[in-house]
């Protein structure tokens, strides 16, 4: 058992916890680079539409706005879950955590609708350089959300089984960082892919 420092929140309670959180920040730095290369490629290829449609012809405001509001709200609720966790309120924490994952599921549902819609109107992955990089960028973000849903579900199960311990609190906090990061990536997708494309 490692030394527990009770003056700090549970997720920071021992040296291993601090290292885990810092290590995750380094991972987020690498993720920033991953999405930066996707954005760089998107900006290079966005007008290379070949015989396929351009962004302005296929983007729809309503589903994009739903995705944005759902993800923003889920980022808020995972923040509330972390607040409840620091107060030691396990049930409130699990409620906020579950709401977060449900909102993530709604986001994913809308994105799947969006992808099938694009495919049905002739904007599939192989149509042009533009559709290729568009769906790769959106899909990379969507894949991260999908991974997050399973990861979050496993954390909920662990908190239910073991309660709020330095270990489960640390895992939950790291998940919250991941989820907020996905929201930040989405803000940039919303602004520089959708809104820029629809102007």
């Amino acid at each position: 058992m490692m030394k527990i420092d009770n003056s700090l929140p549970l997720e920071y309670a021992n040296e291993q916890n601090k290292m885990n959180i810092f290590g995750f920040w380094i991972f987020i730095g690498a993720e920033v680079m991953l999405f930066a290369t996707l954005f760089a490629t998107y900006f290079t290829l966005e007008h290379r539409v070949g015989n396929g449609p351009a962004g302005a012809e296929i983007f729809e405001l309503t589903p994009v706005l739903i995705e944005t509001l759902v993800l923003l709200t889920s980022s808020f609720t995972i923040g509330l879950a972390m607040n409840a966790m620091r107060l030691g309120k396990k049930n409130a924490m699990l409620t906020f955590f579950s709401i977060t994952l449900l909102l993530g599921l709604v986001f994913l549902g809308v994105e799947i609708y969006e992808f099938t819609h694009y495919a049905s109107i002739g904007a599939g992955l192989q149509v042009s350089a533009f559709t290729g990089i568009l769906l790769t960028t959106l899909g990379t973000h969507g894949a991260h959300v999908t991974v997050g849903l399973f990861w979050g579900l496993f954390i909920i199960m662990q908190v239910k089984k073991h309660g709020l311990t330095p270990k489960t609190a640390n895992k939950s906090f790291i998940f919250s960082l991941y989820w907020h990061f996905l929201d930040i990536v989405w803000i940039f997708i919303f602004s520089f892919i959708y809104l820029k494309g629809m102007m």
Binding site: Y12, K18, I21, F22, W25, I26, I28, G29, A30, V32, M33, F35, A36, T37, F39, A40, T41, F43, T44, L61, L65, T68, L69, L72, T73, S75, F76, I78, G79, L80, M82, N83, A84, L87, K89, A92, S176, L177, H180, F181, D183, I184, I187, F188, F190, S191, F192, L195, K196, M198, M199
Partner: protein, 93 residues
Amino acid sequence: MSELFPRKQVMGFVFSLVLTAAALTVYFLDLSFMAAMTVLLATAFVQAGVQLVGFMHVGESEDRTMIYMNIFYGVAIALFTIFGTLLILVWDM
């Protein structure tokens, strides 16, 4: 009950909604490309800042200097990559 909804986080959420609405003006108003990009860059980066400081608890732990440096480094490399690519492949300079 109110302790479950801390003021800082509620305000952060409201602010992020306001920023989203502000970004939407580029869709509804007929702005020039430069003006619209300025609005989007401002709203997106402020939004990211709200998430980092308001929700991700940056600056609360004692290793905050290392975390800030890590974020700064990641964002700097991202901007070099994106604007370097734009400079050579899109703006053709």
